[in-house]
C-alpha cells in the first residue's frame, strides 16, 4: 500500500494557527499523526522575570486573542487568592457577564471556522456577522474588541451602567433568536450531517483516558464543567452543564451551539441578580508584594484552563504557568485523527477548537 505523508500546517488555511501535523496516509486513510508546535512560542511565561506582577495580567491576556478576557481574569483571580484580596460584588458579577459574553463570542467564531472547514462559506459569514455584534458590545463596555484590559488584581477597571446592561441583555436575546435559525442549519442540513455525523467519535471512556476537557469531553457525555464548583460567583447562578452523548463532530458542534444559548441565559441571570446602582466600588487595590502559590481553574470556551502562580515576595513572580484547554485536548485530537479519512481531518481538528497560540504561550 502506498504511504503518503501530508504536512498539515503550519500555514494551512483550515487552521489559522501554526500547528503542524504530519499525517501519514495509506490511500485516503490517516494511519498516524505526529504533532509539532513551537512555531509561535512567545515565551510569555518567561516574561515574569521582567514584567512586574501588577502588569503581568496584560501579558496573560495576550496568551490568546479569543479567550483574552478569561486569561486576564484567571491571572487576576490567582493573584487575588495569593494576596487575600476580596473582589467587590459588582465587579465579580461584571466579570461573570463579560466572561459569558466572551464565551458566546468564542463559540460563534468557532462555529464559523467549523463551517468554513467543511466548505460552507455562507454559514461562516453568518456566524461571524453575529459575532461582530458581540465585539461591538465589548468595544462599548471595555474599550477593546479583542483585548479588553479591564481586569485588575482586586477587581475591574470599568463600570457598565445599569441601562447599558439592560440593553446588552435585550441585544443578546435578539441575537439568541437569530442564532436559533443558524443552529437549525447546523442541525438539519443534510450536507453538514454527511460531513459531521459519525465522524471522529470519542467515547466517554476514551475522553477520560486522554484527559479531554471542555466541550470536547462534554460532547462525549463526560460531565465536567469547572463552573460547577461554584467558584468566582458561579454558585449564585443556576445552570446545568451541556452534555451530549454521541461524541462525534456533530455532537461537539451541538454542545457549543447549546452553550451559546446557555451563556446568554447566564448573562441575563447575572444582570438580574447583581447589585444595582452607580458608583459602587469596583476595585480593592492589593498592598505589598505577593508571597505564596495557587492553582486557579476556570471554564474557558474551549474547556478548563489551569493557572499555577508562584510568588516569592518580590515584584516579579517566580513562576506563572497556564495550562490551556487546547494543550489538554491535543492528545484527544491525535487519537481521533488516527484512522479517519483525509477529508475528515479538518473537521476533527477544528471540533477540538484548537488554539495553538494558547498552547504555546
Amino acid at each position: 500500500m502506498k504511504r503518503t505523508i501530508i504536512p498539515f500546517g503550519p500555514q494551512h488555511p483550515v487552521l489559522p494557527e501554526p500547528l503542524v501535523l504530519d499525517l501519514i496516509l495509506e490511500d485516503e486513510r490517516v494511519v498516524d499523526a505526529v504533532p509539532t508546535i513551537g512555531y509561535i512560542h512567545r515565551g510569555l511565561e518567561m516574561m515574569v522575570e521582567r514584567v512586574e506582577y501588577t502588569e503581568m495580567g496584560f501579558v496573560a491576556e495576550r496568551i490568546c486573542g479569543i479567550c483574552s478576557f478569561m486569561h486576564g481574569m484567571g491571572y487576576c483571580v490567582s493573584l487575588e487568592a495569593i494576596m487575600n484580596v476580596e473582589v467587590p460584588e459588582r465587579a465579580r458579577w461584571l466579570r461573570i457577564i463579560w466572561a459569558e459574553i466572551s464565551r458566546v463570542q468564542s463559540h460563534l467564531l468557532w462555529l464559523g471556522l467549523g463551517a468554513d472547514a467543511f466548505g460552507f462559506e455562507n454559514l461562516f459569514m453568518h456566524c461571524w456577522r453575529m459575532r461582530e455584534e458581540i465585539l461591538d458590545i465589548f468595544e462599548k463596555t471595555t474599550g477593546g474588541r479583542i483585548i479588553h484590559s479591564v481586569n485588575r488584581i482586586g477587581g475591574v477597571k470599568r463600570d457598565v451602567s445599569d441601562a447599558e446592561l439592560a440593553a446588552i441583555v435585550v441585544k443578546l436575546e435578539e441575537l439568541g433568536k437569530a442564532f436559533e435559525k443558524t443552529a437549525n442549519v447546523f442541525g438539519k442540513d443534510p450536507s453538514i450531517r454527511h460531513r459531521l455525523s459519525g465522524v471522529g467519535v470519542l467515547s466517554a471512556d476514551d475522553a477520560r483516558a486522554v484527559d479531554a476537557v471542555g466541550p470536547m469531553a462534554r460532547a462525549s457525555g463526560v460531565v465536567m464543567d469547572t463552573r460547577l464548583s461554584g467558584t468566582y460567583g458561579y454558585d449564585q447562578v443556576d445552570f446545568e452543564p451541556v452534555t451530549e452523548t454521541a461524541g462525534d463532530c456533530l455532537a461537539r458542534v451541538v454542545v457549543r451551539m447549546r452553550e451559546v444559548q446557555q451563556s446568554i441565559g447566564l448573562v441575563r441571570q447575572a444582570v438580574e441578580k447583581m447589585p444595582k446602582g452607580e458608583g459602587m466600588p469596583l476595585e480593592n487595590k492589593p498592598r505589598g508584594n505577593p508571597v505564596g502559590e495557587t492553582y486557579t481553574r476556570l471554564e474557558q470556551p474551549r474547556g478548563e484552563v489551569l493557572y499555577y502562580v508562584k510568588a516569592n515576595g518580590t515584584k516579579n513572580l517566580e513562576r506563572f504557568r497556564a495550562r490551556t484547554p487546547t494543550f489538554a485536548n491535543i492528545p484527544a485530537m491525535i487519537k481521533l485523527v488516527r484512522g479517519c479519512d483525509l477529508a475528515d481531518v479538518p473537521n476533527i481538528i477544528l471540533t477540538i477548537d484548537p488554539c495553538i497560540s494558547c498552547t504555546e504561550r
Binding site: 488555511p13 483550515v14 466548505g119 460552507f120 462559506e121 479519512d341 483525509l342
Partner: protein, 283 residues
Amino acid sequence: MNPIVYAVLFVLLAPVFGGLLAGIDRIASARMQSRVGPPLLQPFYDLGKLLQKDARQVNPLVEPLLLGHVGFMAATGAMLVGGVDLIFVAFVFALAALFLVLAAGTVNSPYSFTGAERELVVLLAAEPFFILMLAAICKVTDASSYQGVLSSAVMVAPKLPGVLLAFTFVATIKLRKSPFDISTSHHAHQELVSGLTSDMSGRLLAYVEMAHWYESAILASFVILFFNWSVPLGLLAFAVIYAAEVLVDNSTSRAKWQLVLRSTWAVTLLLAGGNVLALFLLK
C-alpha cells in the same frame, strides 16, 4: 456563415463570457452571504494580476501541460460550434480535463497529487454522463454536429428532460461548485489547500482560470443544444441553471468524494439512462 468563423468567434469571445459570468457569480455569492462583493470585472483584474506575477515552476512539465489544458479546452469549444462530430467533442473535452490532472500529477507535492487523484475521480464521475448526453442528443435529433442539432426539427429539451436535470446535477462538478468542489475550490479552506492548483502560481494559475472560463462557455453551449430552436432561450436556461448552482453552492457544505462518485453515477443512470431508455421503449 462558415463554421470556421463560429470557431474563431468562440475562441475569442468565450473568455469574455466566462469572465463576466465569474464576475456575476462572485457578486451574487457575496450578496447571498450578505457581503458587498467585488466589482463585476474583478475576475479580469485578477487574471491580469496573475499574468504579471512570477510563475514558480515546480516541474518544467507543468507549463506545457497547462497550455495543453487551456488549448484543448478552447479547441473543444471551437470544435463544438465549428460543427465537428459531437461524440468526438465529448472525448476531446475529457482529454482537456485530463491535461489538468497530468499537470497537477507531475508536481511531487502531496496536496497537488491528492488533488489530482480526486480530480480523476471527478472525471470518472462526470465524463460518462457527457458522452451519454451528447449521444442521446444526436440520437433524438438525428444529427451529429452542433449546426445539425440547431437546425433540427425536433426540440431536444421536451424529449430529454431527465438528461437536462442530470446535466444540472453534473454541471455542479464542472463548474466547481459546492458540494462537489472536491478537487479544487475557489476558497482554499479545505483539507487539500485548493487541491490540484495548490502548486500553480502566476501565469500557470491564469491558464487554469482561462480554461475554466472556456469550460463555462462550453457548458453554456451544451445547454443551447437542449433548447435548439432558440439560442436566447438556451442562454436563459443556462442562466437559470447557473443561478441554481450558485444558490446550492451557498447552501451546502462540501461533500466527500465517495458521495460525489456514487450520487453522480446514480443520477446519470437513473435520470439520464432512464430517460434514454424510456425514449427507446416508447418509440
